[in-house]
């Protein structure tokens, strides 16, 4: 209980104090996770739309696989990317290990199935409603993909947010491929892990609170943006 109270006080202190190291860590967390989510959206949303719109043999199996990939443990993704980027690995020459780019890659791999699966779920519902009308207008399953994406844009924001939540909160993958290097690859979650391992429980909790506030901020601003956009545009 002591720790909890101390954590709230510390969190307030950290935020109000504008500690430059914390600011850098928060900035990197946001940059890495937002980049990863952007990549995940760019790949996952069209993939979800494709699975929702285009029938092909093996599609049900592909959907099951995608849903299962949502549960990928971050550590496994981290190890996979580590093996890929390691000096002894196939992409070792790129020297990307222990860089923010490696962290983006790992989180993108982690989050893409989530964005894709949630998008598919949403767009499959839309396509059921639209398919016949679209075909009547001459829009086949492939050409329906951009239409479905645009029609589902407000719902898709939720898929992106779910991906962001997963990315900003995960520690296993970024720890392995980023190395938690101070000033270079240290993000909120690895900083929390570090402070915990130093026994600085209150500080770790305070960082956790800052992380929570950060997630709230992003989710909230997306909700507001989406609300105004939906009101202005054509829901």
């Amino acid at each position: 209980m002591e720790d909890l109270g101390a954590a709230f006080a510390l969190a307030l202190d950290l935020v109000l104090g504008g500690d430059p190291e914390l600011v850098a860590i928060v900035g990197l967390s946001l940059a890495v996770s937002l980049s990863a989510v952007a990549i995940a959206c760019l790949l996952g949303m069209p993939l979800g739309a494709l699975l929702a719109s285009v029938p092909f043999p093996g599609r049900p199996a592909a959907v099951v696989l995608l849903d299962a990939l949502m549960g990928l443990p971050p550590v496994v993704v981290g190890l996979f990317v580590y093996i890929l980027l390691s000096g002894a690995g196939p992409l070792g020459a790129l020297r990307l290990l222990y860089t923010p780019q490696a962290m983006v890659l790992a989180q993108a791999i982690l989050v893409t199935p989530i964005v894709a699966a949630l998008s598919r779920e949403l767009l499959a519902g839309l396509q059921e409603e639209y398919a016949e009308q679209l075909r009547s207008l001459g829009i086949g399953p492939w050409r329906a993909i951009p239409t479905l994406l645009w029609e589902g844009r407000f719902g898709l924001a939720t898929a992106a947010l779910a991906g962001f939540g997963r990315a900003i909160a995960e520690v296993g993958a970024v720890m392995i491929v980023g190395g938690n290097i101070k000033g270079v690859t240290r993000v909120m979650t690895t900083a929390i892990a570090l402070e915990t391992s130093k026994g600085e429980i209150a500080l770790a909790l305070a960082l956790g609170l800052v992380l929570l506030a950060l997630a709230l901020l992003v989710t909230g601003s997306v909700a507001v943006l989406r609300g105004t956009a939906a009101r202005l545009a054509h829901d």
Partner: protein
């Protein structure tokens, strides 16, 4: 009327389609001439919607022959059709953008699209609604947009599946008047309805379906005066089947 790309008259012979062993169309045959407004009547499950979907290329028949001005169904035929569904499916964008979407899907150049869009907004009285989000309109307004979208494609034949089924009298009247106008402008119309009064108001010709077959086809006046089959008589008189 010697346009070589014309798809009418239509000849349908022995059309059959079964879903899981249950026949929806059971060897159905009829002809449609180049002009007019034909109403398709029949009890629930008679096969009216399935027939329209097959004609529009949304479903494939198991057996039978369809000839559009001598040609089998295909892209060239479909391009000259448009369909309006019972429940209008509009996209999450403005009324104008919905209509433009359909025109763009047909590959029309921007200038032609703008011209047609303005004409159809005007013709359907949708000018004041053009910028409104389509999905926020009332049911009647939405169906009018759906009809305008179909008319913008300038089809040779317009297929409608119970377009006024859930509309109030005023909205129904608006749709009917648009149908009369396009009929007058030369659009061939094939209308499925359950509303016998509507059929009396609009039909020049009636096709009556029963269990996937055409049991009667003829001029509307004669049909309503004296339906030949017992099923049609009961239907027109609004009697509940035994």
């Amino acid at each position: 009327m010697t346009d070589p790309s014309a798809i009418l008259p239509l000849e349908v012979r022995g059309l059959a389609l079964a879903f899981g062993g249950r026949a929806a169309l059971a060897g159905l045959s009829f002809d449609l001439g180049r002009e007019g407004l034909t109403v398709v009547l029949g009890a629930n499950g008679a096969g009216k919607s399935v027939l329209l979907r097959v004609l529009h290329g949304l479903l494939r028949a198991d057996r039978g022959r369809i000839r559009w001005n001598g040609r089998p169904p295909g892209a060239a035929v479909w391009r000259r059709q448009a369909m309006v569904f019972q429940k209008p499916v509009l996209l999450r964008r403005s009324v104008a953008a919905n209509i433009d979407f359909a025109l763009a899907a047909r590959g029309l150049p921007r200038r032609a699209r703008r011209r047609r869009l303005e004409a159809v907004l005007e013709g359907c009285g949708l000018g004041p609604l053009a910028r409104r989000p389509a999905r926020r309109l009332s049911g009647g307004e939405q169906q009018r947009v759906a009809l305008a979208r179909a008319l913008a494609l300038e089809p040779e034949i317009l297929l409608l599946d119970e377009p006024t089924a859930s509309l109030d009298p005023a909205a129904t009247r608006a749709i009917e008047s648009l149908l009369r106008d396009s009929r007058a402008a030369g659009t061939r119309i094939l209308l499925v309805t359950h509303d016998v009064a509507q059929a009396r108001r609009l039909a020049e010709e009636v096709i009556f379906l029963e269990r996937g077959r055409v049991v009667e086809q003829g001029p509307a006046a004669a049909f309503f005066a004296a339906p030949r089959s017992a099923a049609a008589r009961a239907y027109v008189e609004g009697r509940l089947p035994p």
